[in-house]
Every structure is written in C-alpha cells, then in structure tokens.
Symmetry: C2
Subunit: 218 residues, 2 copies
DNA sequence: CCCCTTCTCTAACAGTGTTAGAGACGCTAC
DNA sequence: GTAGCGTCTCTAACACTGTTAGAGAAGGGG
C-alpha cells in the first residue's frame, strides 16, 4: 500500500522520541519507513513542513474537554488544559523545540475559538480572553522548553548534581541555596504547577475586578 | 592583533541580526571576521558553545537594577526586569530561538541570586521566590519565541493579513473575530503586557496570603 | 494496447559542522 | 642571533545534511 502523509508524520514523531531532534534526519526517517529520503518529498514539501505537522500532531494529542465540565470552576478547567498541553510537549523528546520553531498552521484556530468561548461565557471580554489564553500558552511553551533543556544538559555536559554541589560550596549564593534546600534539585513539574497557580490567581483577581465590581454583588 | 572570543561572540550576534539563525554559518562568520571557519574552533569548542555564549551575551545586555529602587513597589520592579529581558530577546533576530536551545551556563546564577534576594526581602520564602522568578522567565521566553515565530512567518509563507482575512470570512469563529476586533492584528507587545499583569496580580495575591493572613489568622 | 497519474528510485549538488595537520607569528632563554 | 615554544591561523579534507532532477515501476481507464 502506498505511503501516506499521516504515516510519515507519526513515525517521524516516534523516531524523534528515539533519537532526538538532532538525530531526526530525512535519510534516517526514510530508512525507518523502508523508503528513500527523496521519496519523503512526495508527501511533504519541506523538512520545515514535516516539523510543523509533527508539532501539530503532538499538540493535538491531548486536545479534549474543550469546555469545562458541569460544575467545574473555569480556572480548574483552564489549569487542566494547560497541564495536558505541558504533558504533550514534555512527553516527547525535544517536542518543545519542535513546537518553538513551528509556524502554526490554522488548524488550531477552532480549538482556540472554543477556549475563548469558554472564558467569554464566564464573563471575560473576548480580547482579554484571547490574551489570557495566549499567556498560558506562552508559559507552557517556555516551561516545557526549559524542562527539556535541563534534560538535554543531563545527557551531555556536566550534570545537575555537580552543578548543585558547586553551588553548595559557594557561600555567596545564600538565597539560591535556601531556595533549593536539602532536596537534590528543583524539579520542573512543581515549578510549572506553581506558575500555573500564579497565573490562575491573577486571572481570578482580574475576573473579580471585571465582574463583581460593576455589578453590585454580594 | 589576535582575535578574541569576545570579538567572535559579538560579531556573531551582529551577524545574527543581519542573516538570522539559519544564515549564521561558521564560514560566513569567519569571513565577517576576515578569518577562515576552522580558526573559530580555536576560540570556541563548538557551534553549540558559540550559541550559548551568544545567548548569554544577549541576556546580559539588559541586566541592571538588580534591586528595586527606593520606594518602588516590588511588583513594578519585577515587571520592569521581565520587560527588559523581553526586549533583549526580541531586540535581536531569532534571539529567542538561540536562547531556547541554550544550556545555560552558571554565569547567570549570581543574577538569579540577587533576584531571589529581592523577593525574599519583601516576605517570600526562598523556594517560592525562585519558582516565581522561573515562572516569569518561562513566560518571557515563550512570549519572545511566539513573537519571533510570527515575524518569521511574515517573511516567508502567507502573511498574517491574509490569515486574518480568511478568519473574517469564516463565520464559525465568532469569538476569535470578536477578540481581534477591527484592528488589523493582535500585537504581541500588548499580549505580553497583559500576561505580565496577570502574573503580577497572582504574585501579589499570593504575597498577601503569605504575609497578611498569618498575622490575622493563625 | 497505450497513456497517464501516482508513487518511488538513483545520482547528484551545494552547503554544513568539524578535524587533522601544516605553517606563520612573536616571545623568552640561552 | 638563534633555537625553542606557545599562540594563532591556514588549507584540505571528511562525513553528513536538505534538496532537486530525472528516470522508472505499478496499475487503472480510454
């Protein structure tokens, strides 16, 4: 049976997990598919386009529950969406880097439309809803990027442990040492959750400012 | 006079502004310095290391006022730091991408130490101060990345205007259209400011929770 | 049967990061 | 002065990359 674009994209994602972004070469992907590298150009215009499709496939993995469940507070729902997005990005090796260079196609627009709708429904003006969703998205991307940069640093170069050790020896970084504490190293997941909490707190404050104040409400 | 590493890094940054990350090749950089490509390997171990040094040089551009001015609220000071960092990243072409792939050296540790110190001084526990600063950093990186991705999309491929136009024709994206409004396109600077405002609001709420409540409550 | 679309191939091109090894420059020690 | 030595730069090449031109196999419809 003839090779299809979906097949190319999906085995490209699987190959990315194995060999990382640097190892993802068209010849390698071709041999994975039992096909020459040139053949891939029949299914995909560019390597750039392939990466775009990959980024979209990864982002679409966890796209669900585009509306809050019944009785679920909107901030919990939004937090959950951000968390899923973060998981999708950190779940595949170097996926954040792929998404970073990505020029997003317009396939994500309906999804964003639904997100905005949910925030508009609870009282945010459309413009502000969009800006807030973008804010969450930027935070997610930056966090995933940093998470994977740390991971990449671990494989090659000096590990985090030695870095932490050197810090402990330095007496001129008291606050940093106090921040990391006795635990070996700061894990990026708790940092992500903290940041998400901050943004949600800001969003709720803003929501109260917008909706409670004008309408005299108890 | 012999070439120095600083010279290499700085003309590399200048070259990046001209030709972008894709155009930044070692041979091109060499010819810019009147030197062969192989020579650069005397001053720099890798291309990866060169990029790391460039990212650090760019990040260090706007590093100043590591403490709030007298009488300046801490959140305004922190906002300003984030804004300067954002400017440094968006001020150089593709700088966010360079910073994204960067394995950060430890030169930034003293800077982070000072930032934490300023937040600890106003009553944040060290751990939370660090996580909050990282949160701001991730948001800045993600925002800069998206800003430059949009810019790159503008040069090659279909422009934002046509994209916006197509959206306007679609009747199934009412909220998105309402969000963008009659203005041509959403500018990333105002989105950044909005996100920053959200994080600062969250931070202030958390600050109140930490410092005011315990006195009254427990 | 022949044409035509769809898919895949081989061969090559221009360019990349990177390395080995050979020099040129300037300083210091005899 | 000159021999030696570290510092810096060169040429030539290697292995690889994305990408393209053009040739060919497979199979269905006139």
């Amino acid at each position: 049976m003839a090779l299809t674009q979906d097949e190319v994209v999906h085995t490209a994602v699987r190959l990315l997990d194995d060999v990382g972004l640097e190892g993802l070469t068209l010849r390698r992907l071709g041999s994975e598919l039992g096909v020459s590298a040139a053949t891939l150009y029949w299914h995909v215009r560019d390597k750039r386009m392939l990466l775009d499709l990959m980024a979209e496939a990864i982002a679409a993995e966890h796209r669900s529950s585009t509306r809050p469940a019944r009785g679920q507070p909107w901030w919990e729902w939004l937090s959950d969406r951000a968390w899923k997005q973060y998981q999708a990005l950190t779940g595949h090796r170097d996926a954040a880097l792929v998404a970073a260079g990505n020029r997003s196609t317009e396939n994500s627009l309906p999804y964003i439309e639904e997100l905005i709708g949910s925030l508009v429904d609870v009282g945010f003006p459309p413009r502000e809803a969009l800006e807030s969703i973008l804010t969450v998205g930027h935070f997610v991307l930056g966090s995933a990027l940093e998470h994977q940069a740390v991971a990449a640093r671990g494989t090659a170069g000096e590990t985090d442990a030695t870095l932490a050790l050197r810090m402990r020896e330095a007496t001129d970084l008291p606050n940093l040492i106090a921040a990391i504490g006795c635990e070996s190293v700061l894990d990026s997941e708790s940092t992500f959750r903290h940041g998400l909490m901050l943004i949600m707190a800001g969003l709720r404050a803003r929501h109260a400012e917008l909706n409670d104040a004008p309408i005299i409400r108890a």
